[in-house]
C-alpha cells in the first residue's frame, strides 16, 4: 500500500514535470530517445517556448539598464517587483530583466567564459559585463522568468539541466555567430537578465538578444 502510494506520487511528479511539454502525435527517433530517458528533454522544452514566451516576456519586462541598476542599488525589492523575478521562497536573489545599450570598453575573449564590459552612461567606465559565451555563467535567463518554477520539476538535477538549456540555446542562436575580433569601441545592444550582484561587482548579464555594430 505504502509502495503504491509512493509510486503514485512518483507518477504525479513525473506528470508535473512533463506538463509543460507539448504532445506530438507521431514519435520521431529523437522522441523515442527522450522517452528512454524518462521523457525529460530540457533543450526541446526551451526551444519550444523561446520565441513564443521567453523573448516576449523579456522584451516586455526589461527596463533600461541605468534605471534598473539605480533602483536595484537603492531598493532591490522595488526593482525586483518592477523588473525582476525570484522564487517565492528560499534565498535566491532577484534576477532582473534589462535592456542594455552602450559602448564596449573592454573585452575578455581568451577565457571560455568570455564577456565584454559595457559603458552604458557615456562616462567611459564599465557599468556591466555581458557574457558572450561559449561558457555562460549561472542561470539568469531561467531565473528571470516568472512562468517557470522549480516546484514543477522532479528535483534539482532536472531544474539545473533546464537552466543550462537556456544558456545552450542562446549560445547556439546568438553568441556563436558573434565575431570576437575588435570588439572594443563598438556599439552593443542587448536584452537579457542578471542576478543582483554582490557589493562592488559589476552586473553580469546573460543576453537573450544581442547585436554588436560599428
Amino acid at each position: 500500500m505504502r509502495n503504491l502510494k509512493a509510486a503514485a506520487v512518483l507518477v504525479l511528479a513525473g506528470a508535473m514535470a512533463l506538463s509543460s511539454c507539448k504532445i506530438i502525435k507521431t514519435p520521431t527517433s529523437e522522441e523515442a530517445a527522450q522517452a528512454a530517458t524518462g521523457g525529460f528533454a530540457p533543450d526541446r522544452m526551451v526551444a519550444e517556448i523561446w520565441d513564443s514566451k521567453v523573448l516576449p516576456y523579456l522584451d516586455k519586462k526589461a527596463g533600461p539598464f541605468p534605471e534598473v541598476a539605480a533602483l536595484a542599488a537603492s531598493d532591490p525589492d522595488a526593482a525586483g517587483a518592477k523588473y525582476g523575478h525570484k522564487e517565492k521562497q528560499g534565498s535566491a536573489p532577484w534576477t532582473f530583466a534589462t535592456r542594455l545599450s552602450g559602448t564596449i570598453v573592454a573585452a575578455e575573449t581568451k577565457s571560455r567564459s568570455a564577456y565584454v564590459e559595457v559603458d552604458a552612461d557615456g562616462d567611459g567606465k564599465a557599468d556591466a559585463r555581458v557574457q558572450i559565451g561559449p561558457a555562460i555563467r549561472g542561470t539568469a535567463i531561467r531565473d528571470s522568468l516568472d512562468f517557470v518554477n522549480f516546484n514543477e520539476f522532479k528535483n534539482q538535477i532536472e531544474w539545473a539541466q533546464y537552466g543550462k538549456a537556456f544558456n545552450t540555446h542562446v549560445n547556439g542562436l546568438v553568441l556563436e555567430k558573434l565575431s570576437r575580433d575588435g570588439l572594443v569601441g563598438k556599439k552593443i545592444e542587448a536584452v537579457g537578465a542578471y542576478p543582483l550582484p554582490a557589493k562592488g561587482q559589476l552586473p553580469l548579464v546573460a543576453p537573450a538578444r544581442l547585436t554588436v555594430e560599428g
Binding site: R2, G90, R137, T139, Q156
Partner: protein, 313 residues
C-alpha cells in the same frame, strides 16, 4: 510508622498526580533526524534545529540514521510512536526516503526536509535545500580560475544514493567541461568520508602523479584529500571543497585547501523548525514546498567571517 505510611501515601499520591498531569501538560515534541554527527555539517543542522525548537518551547528528540534507509524507517516509527508533532529530516536517500516520509504523513506527523530533497512533492510539507547546483558552479568557477583553465584534475564524488552528490558533480562539470584543456584523470566516490577520501587519494596519486587539482563533493572528503596530498609532500595541488566547515575554513586560512562553498546549514535547519511551528500552531504551509537556499563561495578573502556554517559580518 503511621507517619511514614502517611508520607508514603502522600508521596505516592503526588507521584500519581504528577504522572497523570504529564500527558495533559506535556510539551510538544519535535523529532530531528539527520545523518551521523561525525560530519560537522549534520551536527550543525541538528544543533541549529534543536536550539530553535527549544526557543519555541518544544521538546526535542535528536536521532541519527547513518545514511541507512532501514534505520531511518525505524526512527520515523519511533518519532510517530513518541507522538512527535513534526519531524525535521535530513533524509537517507532521495528515492528510498519517499516511503518513510509518506508513512509519517499517513500517521499524521508532518515532515520538514532539510539539505536533501526527495524525488516527490506533496509528501513532505516543505523541502528546504541548498541550491547545490548554484553552489557547485561557484566552486567550479573558482577551481577553473585557480587551475588557470587547464591541467589534470581529480573529482571525488559523494555517496551515490544522495541526490546532492549527483547535482554537485553536474554543477562542477557544467562549468569545467566548457574548458577543453581541463582533463579529469580520475573520478571516484569516497562516500562523503574523510578516511575513505584519504585512502582513495593515496591510490589515485600513485597512478596519476601529474595532477594539478582536486575538486571534492564535500568538505570532509576535501580534508581527507589534502591530508593525503600533504603526507605525500604535494603542497602544490589545488583542493576545493563544498559545505563550509570550520575545518576547511582553518585549512584555507593556513594555506591548505583553496576554497569551499558555504551551505547555510544552521539557518536552513532553523527555518525548517520555524515552518514546522507555523504548521503546528496555525496549519499554514509555506507558499512553495521546495525552497532553494543560495550558497556562498569561501576563499581566503572571507574565510575569517565563517563560523559553524554561517557567515558573520
Amino acid at each position: 510508622m503511621k507517619l511514614t505510611r502517611r508520607m508514603t501515601m502522600a508521596a505516592f499520591a503526588a507521584v500519581l498526580a504528577a504522572s497523570s498531569a504529564i500527558p495533559a501538560y506535556a510539551v510538544d515534541l519535535i523529532a530531528i533526524i539527520t545523518p551521523s554527527h561525525d560530519n560537522p555539517f549534520f551536527k550543525a543542522e541538528a544543533v541549529g534545529a534543536e536550539a530553535k525548537a527549544k526557543e519555541l518551547g518544544y521538546e526535542t528528540l535528536v536521532l541519527v540514521h547513518d545514511d541507512d534507509a532501514n534505520k531511518q524507517s525505524q526512527l520515523i516509527d519511533t518519532a510517530i510512536g513518541r507522538g512527535a508533532k513534526a519531524i525535521i529530516l535530513d533524509n537517507a536517500g532521495s528515492e528510498a526516503s519517499i516511503a518513510a516520509v509518506q508513512k509519517a504523513k499517513d500517521a499524521g506527523v508532518p515532515s520538514f526536509l532539510i539539505d536533501r530533497e526527495i524525488n516527490a512533492t506533496g509528501v513532505a510539507v516543505s523541502q528546504i535545500v541548498s541550491n547545490n547546483y548554484q553552489g557547485a558552479q561557484l566552486g567550479a568557477e573558482e577551481f577553473v580560475k585557480l587551475m588557470g583553465e587547464s591541467g589534470n584534475y581529480v573529482e571525488l564524488l559523494g555517496r551515490e544514493s544522495d541526490l546532492n552528490a549527483g547535482i554537485r558533480s553536474k554543477g562542477y562539470h557544467d562549468v569545467i567541461d566548457e574548458y577543453p584543456e581541463m582533463k579529469m584523470v580520475a573520478q571516484q566516490s569516497a562516500n562523503w568520508s574523510q578516511t575513505e577520501a584519504y585512502a582513495k587519494m593515496e591510490t589515485i596519486l600513485q597512478a596519476n602523479p601529474d595532477i594539478k587539482g582536486v575538486i571534492s563533493g564535500n568538505d570532509t572528503m576535501a580534508m581527507g584529500a589534502i591530508a593525503a596530498l600533504q603526507a605525500a609532500g604535494r603542497k602544490d595541488v589545488i583542493v576545493v571543497g563544498f559545505d563550509g566547515s570550520n575545518d576547511v575554513r582553518d585549512s584555507i586560512k593556513s594555506g591548505g585547501i583553496k576554497a569551499t562553498v558555504l551551505q547555510p546549514a544552521y539557518a536552513q535547519a532553523q527555518m525548517a523548525v520555524q515552518q514546522a511551528h507555523e504548521y503546528i500552531t496555525t496549519g499554514k504551509k509555506p507558499v512553495e514546498e521546495k525552497q532553494l537556499m543560495d550558497c556562498v563561495l569561501i576563499t581566503s578573502e572571507n574565510a575569517d567571517q565563517l563560523e559553524t556554517f554561517a557567515l558573520t559580518n
